[in-house]
């Protein structure tokens, strides 16, 4: 890449790294794996920088790469996730819903029990604030699929968290 492109990439990286890490964290539930996936997405972006002509679509490109990376990893034989209706063991007793720590842990643990594709739809819609069309574009699927995955994902999340989801309060 020439110097101008490198500068453009550096600016984009500085502006978006933390947001991409946060998205990756909610998608996989672990900060270290989130770093791996976010770094892989930025490396792929750097390698394809000159070929991405629509600079307005960078966010969508990175989101799509990130989601694909995490969903693909969950499918691999040696690290396959299994969706379960049982909540993780350490979330059995929900402490005071007013604590920010509780919000984080309960929601992150609950998301782990949601199938990866549905989890991706929930994270893009509620963390990144994308609408149905934007989420569909980021995931490369139809808007109808996004709507159904959203409904199924929320149902799965409520099945795991039960009333705890309604009791949670955004804090901090």
């Amino acid at each position: 890449m020439d110097d101008a492109s490198e500068r453009e990439f550096a600016e984009y990286f500085r502006a978006r790294r933390d947001a991409v890490r946060r998205t990756a964290f909610l998608l996989c539930g672990d900060w270290h794996r989130a770093d791996d996936h976010a770094q892989a997405a930025f490396v792929a972006l750097h390698r394809h920088w000159r070929r991405i002509r629509d600079r307005a679509a960078l966010d969508a490109w990175v989101r799509r790469t990130l989601v694909r990376s995490i969903v693909d990893e969950s499918r691999r034989p040696w690290r396959r996730e299994r969706a379960t209706a049982e909540p993780p063991p350490d979330t059995g007793a929900v402490p005071s819903a007013s604590e920010a720590v509780t919000t984080r842990h309960v929601l992150v643990d609950g998301l782990r029990a949601v199938p990866p594709r549905q989890r991706a739809v929930l994270v893009l819609r509620y963390l990144d604030g994308l609408d149905v069309a934007g989420t569909a574009a980021a995931l490369g699927c139809s808007e109808g699929t996004v709507k159904s995955q959203t409904a199924h994902g929320l149902t799965a999340l409520r099945a795991v968290l039960g009333d705890a989801l309604d009791d949670l309060r955004p804090a901090g």
Binding site: W31, Q39, V43, R68, L107, C141, P170
Partner: protein, 249 residues
């Protein structure tokens, strides 16, 4: 506040973890990794091209003298006296079989879900390059350039295809892997090729095709389309590809 707004605040609160560890990578690390991958890819393409050139050159040097009919009898027959020209079928038989000849390999049309293809009999012993075998055991990304060069040899449509995003992983047994974003007509998706060394447990994903390789390992090939119901690219060529890769890995 609507339910969507409340969920949005909850998600943002959950992700804004003040106790999150410091980022494990910076701009320099990203650029360094990107350049290393690009350099390795170029080197692999160069080595693959040279290997292909060597194979074609050596193969041509062996095959061409035989195809000329031995070369001892230099007599040229007049057109009227020349023997009947060989038919198109016999000419085709004299030529080396194309890679697609392995389509008839046993198991090519087996069960649709997870299929195992037997290697082409004697394919590894026909003077081709030695099997690739296990790769390095260091921690690295799983886009193996040597494996990609072999895949591109048998599936030229993927030459230049961008690598699908993957994570850095350790490969204690020397596993090799390639994940490519490919397009096959109107079908777009990801083609995954894995080489598992001998003794590695095989758990192929649905629709994957596998075969034992010349080095005693296993090659597993799978493809999936973009989106839940999208057609998978090259789905009808997985059997052929596995049969062609097996003698080379």
């Amino acid at each position: 506040m609507t339910d969507d707004e409340r969920l949005g605040e909850l998600f943002r609160a959950a992700a804004s973890d003040s106790a999150a560890p410091a980022p494990g990578f910076d701009h320099e690390a990203v650029v360094r990794t990107s350049r290393r991958i690009t350099a390795r890819r170029r080197a692999a393409v160069t080595v693959g091209g040279l290997a292909l050139f060597a194979v074609v050159g050596v193969g041509g040097a062996i095959v061409l003298p035989r195809a000329s009919g031995g070369g001892q009898d230099a007599t040229v027959a007049a057109p009227m006296l020349a023997p009947e020209a060989p038919s198109a079928d016999s000419r085709a038989q004299q030529q080396a079989p194309p890679p697609a000849a392995a389509e008839g390999a046993p198991g090519a049309g087996a069960a649709p879900d997870r299929r195992e293809v037997a290697p082409a009999p004697g394919a590894a012993a026909v003077g081709g390059p030695p099997p690739l075998g296990p790769g390095t055991t260091e921690c690295a990304d799983r886009q193996d350039p040597a494996l990609r060069a072999v895949v591109e040899e048998f599936l030229p449509e993927v030459i230049g295809a961008p690598e699908a995003a993957i994570t850095m992983e350790c490969r204690p047994g020397g596993e090799r892997g390639v994940n490519l974003e490919v397009r096959d007509g109107s079908a777009a998706g990801v083609l995954t090729v894995q080489y598992l060394p001998p003794g590695t447990a095989i758990k192929p994903v649905e629709g994957a095709v596998s075969a034992p390789t010349a080095s005693g390992g296993t090659v597993v090939v799978s493809t999936r389309g973009d989106g839940p119901d999208a057609p998978a690219p090259f789905a009808d060529r997985l059997d052929t590809l596995v049969a062609q890769l097996a003698p080379r890995l």
